[in-house]
Symmetry: C2
Subunit: 340 residues, 2 copies
């Protein structure tokens, strides 16, 4: 059986309070006592029981991270960054996948698991304006990546509209006039897809180009296969296309392949840009231009804000009002939009 405080105390000939003091790094312990206790700890291999500590102090040192799925590289890279940040702060991360399904997204907010985590970093995909009330929960919650209007919690957002606008403007600057958008979600108004579509429209408008519904490729998810299929469907329409805005990099990757299969040369005939700056964009042929949304900054900010909220709540007192944190982005030009 694992050793407890009591075992260590007995072995060291002190009370459990003294052992606890040593374990928790309390200052006022006589050096000789501390040494005795540390020896006893080493001998028994004592490790604090975190469930007991958690029950007692009301915090577990675990935060939750809920995201659509790790099979989407963007979320995998994000999760990796969140876990690293959390670890640096001495906190561990419990990861849950929602599959971007509305029920699962609601579920994760009320899951019994929330009793085990001190707070949640949540990247919703299916939830929209109608669900904003559900975000009014009684534990620290940080929302990622969406611009849901005025939720009752902190949120860390990338500037989806501006990023998309810049991406499409980049295509325009490269000479594109018939730019397809791949990755729209039918009927969506608040999610990343809707916001990036808005950025696309704004960029067209600024450039004096017409918005043509025939140039919009609708998809279910944002996997590579969806990008490829949407692109094929667009090409099948037989309309002229000289630029493609993939709403994320995996879509753009799939679209790139579909273009090449159809005999279109990239960037000569069609220029392509994605969104996310995934590692894989550096290695496609041609490499993909993209929007770097500062994934690391998002992860870092989310963890920091969440831990601040957890600390604030532990300290008692009035919570400060929820805030929105917007991270910067930058266009990364690679071969897929390079002028010849």
């Amino acid at each position: 059986m694992a050793a407890t405080l009591r075992d260590v105390a007995e072995l060291a000939g002190v009370s459990i309070k003294t052992v606890s003091n040593v374990v928790r790094g309390y200052q006022h312990v006589r050096e000789s006592t501390r040494a005795t206790v540390l020896a006893a700890i080493a001998e028994t291999g004592y490790q604090p029981n975190l469930s007991a500590r958690s029950l007692r102090i009301g915090r577990s040192g675990v935060i939750g991270l809920a995201l659509p799925e790790l099979a989407l590289p963007y979320f995998a890279e994000l999760a990796g960054a969140v876990i690293d940040e959390a670890k640096a702060a001495g906190v561990t991360v419990l990861v849950e996948q929602t599959g971007a399904e509305l029920d699962a997204e609601h579920g994760v907010l009320r899951s019994p698991t929330r009793q085990l985590t001190d707070g949640l970093v949540f990247s919703p995909l299916a939830m929209g304006q109608d669900d904003v009330d559900r975000l009014d929960v009684d534990y620290p919650l940080v929302i990622l990546g969406e611009r849901i209007f005025d939720p009752a919690c902190d949120h860390v957002v990338m500037d989806n509209v501006e990023g998309a606008r810049a991406a499409v403007a980049h295509l325009v600057a490269a000479g594109c006039r018939r730019i397809a958008a791949v990755g729209a979600h039918l009927g969506e108004e608040q999610g990343s897809a809707a916001l990036r579509l808005r950025g696309y429209r704004e960029a067209l408008e600024e450039a004096g180009l017409p918005y043509d519904e025939d140039l919009v490729g609708y998809v279910g998810m944002w996997h590579r296969v969806d990008g490829a299929e949407a692109m094929r469907a667009l090409l099948a329409r037989g309309i002229e296309i000289d630029g493609v805005f993939g709403m994320n990099d995996t879509l753009a990757f799939g679209a790139l392949r579909a273009l090449q299969d159809a005999g279109r040369r990239v960037p000569d005939d069609v220029r392509v840009i994605g969104f996310d700056d995934l590692d894989e964009t550096r290695y496609t042929a041609p490499s993909l231009s993209t929007v770097d949304p500062g994934r690391l900054e998002i992860a870092r900010t989310a963890v920091r804000v969440l831990l601040e909220r957890i600390a604030e709540r532990a300290a008692g007192g009035e919570p400060s009002p929820p805030q929105r944190y917007t991270t910067g982005f930058r266009i990364v030009e690679r071969e897929s939009t390079r002028a010849r």
Copy 2:
């Protein structure tokens, strides 16, 4: 404050035992009582305190998953599968990254976090034969993906040697005679890299081809960049190469790009095969042939075995001896090795 059993009991006018019975689905509760209690639970919004339950019963319903890093797509897809499997069994997953560093791999085995998880699924990369003693821990542990000889715990392995052998044999069958291996680790004897290199050598031998150290590309990690750099280095040697075995798909992806940059046509001049069957291999140009190691089966087996161990230990009694589970693989032929 969150409601407790006592609050619910008071509201329902019963004892906490009865509430506990209802919560835990105990059969022998009068229907009317159950209804009253359920109403009280709904009214108070009661959720069981998992730390308290965990402290009491000695299990948390959380398992740990330790892997090199989520930024490696193989591990991201694996983690996603593990989380899904665990969820289906009513268990949540705490994810830790080791960065493939030896200290971190040792650390994860002794981390205080282990006090919070009922068991661990661990995919080591840096650990070798010298470290096998460390795997003799006092909690349920399942090792993934390595063929460490006779560890004192269960392990689920893919057949690295056979898979690699088949991959290289596939290249040989396609007519390759000068086959480079990209992804070897200098001095490694037990890890995936060593095993896949062994499979490479065996396949050459079977084909009556000489093993040429000049055809082996050594790398640090298995990222795309490592594959690209190793391939460039190989090409810089000026030796003849008509086939490339990437020890995983990301390496192969990087190598593919490096080949193309050097003006080599794939598969015309050089054929390329990878390992892992990542989604991205379907979309590169040309698409990458690879070895499908049955990631889903690995995840499923690992979670099943771990949960069985946890149950076994909860039931008391003698534990059964540790077992090795080997999953099957299959060659996936795509464009990068297709005959013209």
